[in-house]
């Protein structure tokens, strides 16, 4: 119904939708995403039981910064923290971002990477400290 109506009403749109569907099919088969052909797996990859539970924490001025209560997007900061070790300039960016968004003077920033046992009781096994910024 939709396709016959579309063909009758507007051939240009018909061709556009057809090309879009072919593009979507190609990129889905290739398994890569390219704008505007996205794949919506929604956690479809098999997730095995983790060997350890890994937790990343942000420590600002010797105190844990609660990302759940941060006045900015928690998800965005988590993406940034996951890359933290890749650039020496990250510390300066983090300082500027936190100072502007959370209105806190940043003297020292650390990223803690903690490993817990995967089953209850979740005991702490190891903590790695990654300095991010120091005044």
């Amino acid at each position: 119904m939709f396709w016959s109506n579309c063909l009758k009403r507007d051939k240009l749109l018909f061709v556009f939708f057809l090309v879009f569907i072919i593009g979507q099919a190609v990129f889905t088969i290739k398994g890569v995403e390219t704008f505007p052909f996205w794949n919506y797996g929604m956690y479809s990859a098999i997730t095995e039981k983790p060997k350890n539970i890994e937790v990343t924490k942000l420590i600002i001025n010797e105190r844990e910064f609660n990302l759940n209560k941060a006045p900015f997007s928690k998800a965005y900061m988590e993406y940034q923290l996951s890359n933290a070790g890749k650039s020496e300039n990250f510390g300066l960016w983090l300082k500027a971002y936190i100072e502007r968004q959370a209105d806190i003077k940043v003297e020292k920033a650390l990223r803690l990477h903690q490993f817990y046992k995967a089953d209850k009781p979740y005991q702490l096994i190891r903590t790695d400290e990654h300095p991010i910024y120091e005044h």
């Binding site: 009403r9 797996g41 956690y43 990859a45 039981k49 997007s73 940034q80 960016w93 971002y97």
Partner: protein, 276 residues
Amino acid sequence: MSTLFMSIDSREHARLQTSRILAVSLLLIWICRLYQGLGLSQLMQPIFSDTKADRFYWLLDSLGILNALINFLPVSLGIDILLFVLPLLIFCYPSNRFYALLYLPTIVLYFAAYNVSATHQEHTMVGTIAVAFLLCFKENLRFSTVFSAVRFYSCFLMASAFFWKLGRSSLWQEGQLTNILKVQHSALITDSNNTLYSNWISYLIDNPSLANGLWWAAALIELSFIVGFFSKKFDSLLFLLFWLFLISDFLVMGLHFWELGILSIFFLKPYSQKLD
């Protein structure tokens, strides 16, 4: 003859009304993003960028557009202002094509710059791009055709999630949701401060049969959108299921995918029937 004129009038009315509802939704989404500090000018020239395997991002990167969007304050501020002002103008002048034609590339550039700086391909803004595309059409028949197409895309978005799970066998994977929850809520479950939410997540992890049930329920919600390809009869139900899915996503996974909710408007019968 009078019936014909009435039908044209009512379709025009439906188009204008739908355009206004969508423009308000776009504005609300943008205000929420600004509140979360996600405007391009608020990101403070992020250090990292990752174009992933996205050919479109590669193109923008090679042309220096991404760099200008992220690192040149007048450009990023301009995008932020446009994304606020244009939905207002679309709301006030829904018959003027110019504002929508300007909004579409603006939101696409924002989407690309945000995803590249987040180093993560986020899908939450996909609905705004589909809506921006729809708003570019002002002739009633074309508008209603594209409206139907976006509705089909919303069905595809949800239903394809089921088939990805089926194809990758995660649908049958024992303890899939339990394992996901352990990774997703690692900070929450290892924190000694018990909250109502952390207790709920721990309860789910401790009760794999309940977690499995939820995993299957989510998959069934996704699958149910296949009905939307064949009939509009169940659109009210699909509208409710869409929101049930988004709310469950928040309650179980802690994900804020509210922006995607703009696509639920395409299952609202008052609009889809009048536009048909």
